[in-house]
Symmetry: none
DNA sequence: AATGAATGAGTCTTCATTCAT
DNA sequence: GATGAATGAAGACTCATTCAT
């Protein structure tokens, strides 16, 4: 099976990453088993190691791919306009990724929320572009006075992404009862801008 | 003698659970090592098995104990006054518990975020009184018009507790850089009432 | 099986080292299999790891033990007198160790002669006391004029030990035909002092 | 075309064997990696298997080739004169071969020292002409009284070749520090005729 | 004939669990 | 009840070998 084309190699890699996303979402980094991943992708155990040097590295690739997909969708769906509208679009893009790639997002969110010393650096490294994109929108918001300027933009970005993540967790924890995926973008933006409890929030939403 | 023996047994059990909390907080369920827990509690490896049938069971006991300890955290301080002030007091009480029981809380938050089928119900059960207390305050807030009335109170309670948890995670993930524990109560309340991004929030804070 | 006495622990360790010597003598460091060693010593696979951190470390212990046994025998059998006589006694002691501990000596000689980058340092480190003992005798020989003084003593020691090793190899390679173990001490000393070919050697021997 | 093809095939085989010699010299049979050998020879992994059925077989071919190359080494230079001078010339010829074929010689010496049942006969067979040549010189030495006559000439030949090998090993083990290749012929002859320790040796050298 | 992706047997190593003392 | 040595299942990772292209 030699002389495989570069594209075929890429396809196999992709399949392994997707199988990895399923395993890692289900079992976490420590609990995931390499040979399950390989089998799930349709290959024998050893094949994973033709593409990734170690379980850690495969995990990193899964995280990276997850972040890349989310970020890509992000970029596409920037309607311009108010910061609020743009962040809402971003959240919608994120949710639409979640619908299609739930495993990837689960890995991202779960491991990010678990901040294990061995996985958090990986997550952080690969999440950077994603946070960067959000931060870009927020920076413009600060510039035009739509966003408070007394808090560092990176912190704000973390808070926005955290809000989204938290809503996902609540969605999963309630087995989809509340919030539903449909509600999440609006909830995230409202919460982020107006808080969860205030009337203003209620009114504006 | 049976009496003393029983008490002694309880003390040993407690020590094992505390050592377990430390390990599980650091390494997670899969990564934790029985041997380290036992040694850390001052016993030899085998002793754990005189008290718990398996690592899983010890883990369950840690989660349960953590939930039990955390559950008490709320009753303590209710200064009365505005909803805002009362929730802030609640958050402060929560943080003060966190200071003392950081390992337990870490395990709890992690597990909550992973909603494993075998531990999530435990967490949920023990979280209930806490959520109930928060909900009580919020309900009064709704009644007096300080809190929006178009969202179910239980959802609001979940969002408040979620905000706190998210801030904890960010605290841990940043190695305490931001937010610091001191900042968390104010941040939580502001975020919950006014959002993270708005000027109103900045002004009021 | 707890509370084993220190002596029992030592005995088990010894058994593992001896089984290790057998395996390493037969298969070398790379080829040796941990579970064969453990089984051969009468234990399950994992037991080796209760005594040694890794295969390398067990190998080091085997080499050390081999060198220790050989060196010990060396020290006991120093009759004093001429350097020639003392080295002969040393060689005889060495051969008597070889008779009883052939596996250990085989490991030592084979790996020393293979100077593999990963094993040679281990061998060198553990062989040091052995070489040191020989060097001590030779240094006295230099002092009293029985040994040439224009060559560094450590080189001479290496040459003597090398001579012995070479004879062992020839013994093994010929399946014991020549030289026999009985002949080795005399051969080694003669060769070392008088050469292999000269008449002087023939006469004196 | 068949002709060229056959020659080409021979060339590729040769390159693989030389690359094999490098790997085996460095890592031994067990430690050598097919993949490294093939790459080093300028081919992809699988190519080795178009020429050799297995790693073992390639190893055998390397040993055989090494022995073949080394076998020619002696015929070259026989200056006549004293036995001593002729053996010295032989040793010099040997060292000059070593300089060019170091990897092969390393593999050979190692294997000779390990006398594995499957390779030792090969080595022995190819060593025979070399030993025979040395034995021829020695026999003349015995005849003219320059070499002791109370030891079988084949044994003497083995001892001479063994001396050389031992010096090689010490050269390699010391990373070339001592003895240097330049010193080896003189050392070998001196040691062989006069011993390593005696004054006579020192004086005559 | 060369290629190199896929394979899977083989090994080290870890560590929860057991149990004799 | 405490101990810690022994156990062996489990799992990551290696790499010789195969074989489709």
């Amino acid at each position: 099976m030699a002389r495989i084309s570069k594209e075929l190699r890429e396809i196999v890699r992709e399949r392994l990453i997707e199988a990895g996303a399923r395993q890692f979402a289900e079992a976490g980094l420590a609990g995931a088993r390499i040979d399950v991943i390989s089998r799930d992708a349709g290959f024998a155990k050893g094949t994973v190691y033709n593409y990734f040097a170690s379980k850690q590295e495969l995990f990193g690739a899964v995280v990276e791919e997850g972040a890349r997909r989310a970020a890509g969708r992000f970029a596409q769906a920037d309607p311009g306009g108010s910061v609020r509208a743009r962040l809402r679009a971003a959240a919608e893009a994120d949710v639409s990724v979640l619908r299609e790639q739930e495993d990837f997002i689960k890995v991202l969110v779960r491991e990010a929320m678990s901040f294990r010393p061995d996985t958090y650096p990986i997550i952080e490294a690969h999440l950077a572009p994603y946070l960067f994109a959000v931060a870009g929108v927020l920076a413009e918001g600060v510039a035009c006075g739509d966003v408070r300027d007394d808090r560092p933009v990176p912190q704000l970005a973390l808070m926005f992404v955290g809000t989204l993540s938290l809503l996902y967790v609540q969605h999963w924890a309630s087995n989809g009862a509340w919030p539903t995926l449909d509600e999440i973008p609006e909830l995230a933006v409202t919460w982020f801008f107006d808080g969860a409890a205030s009337h203003a929030a209620g009114e504006r939403a």
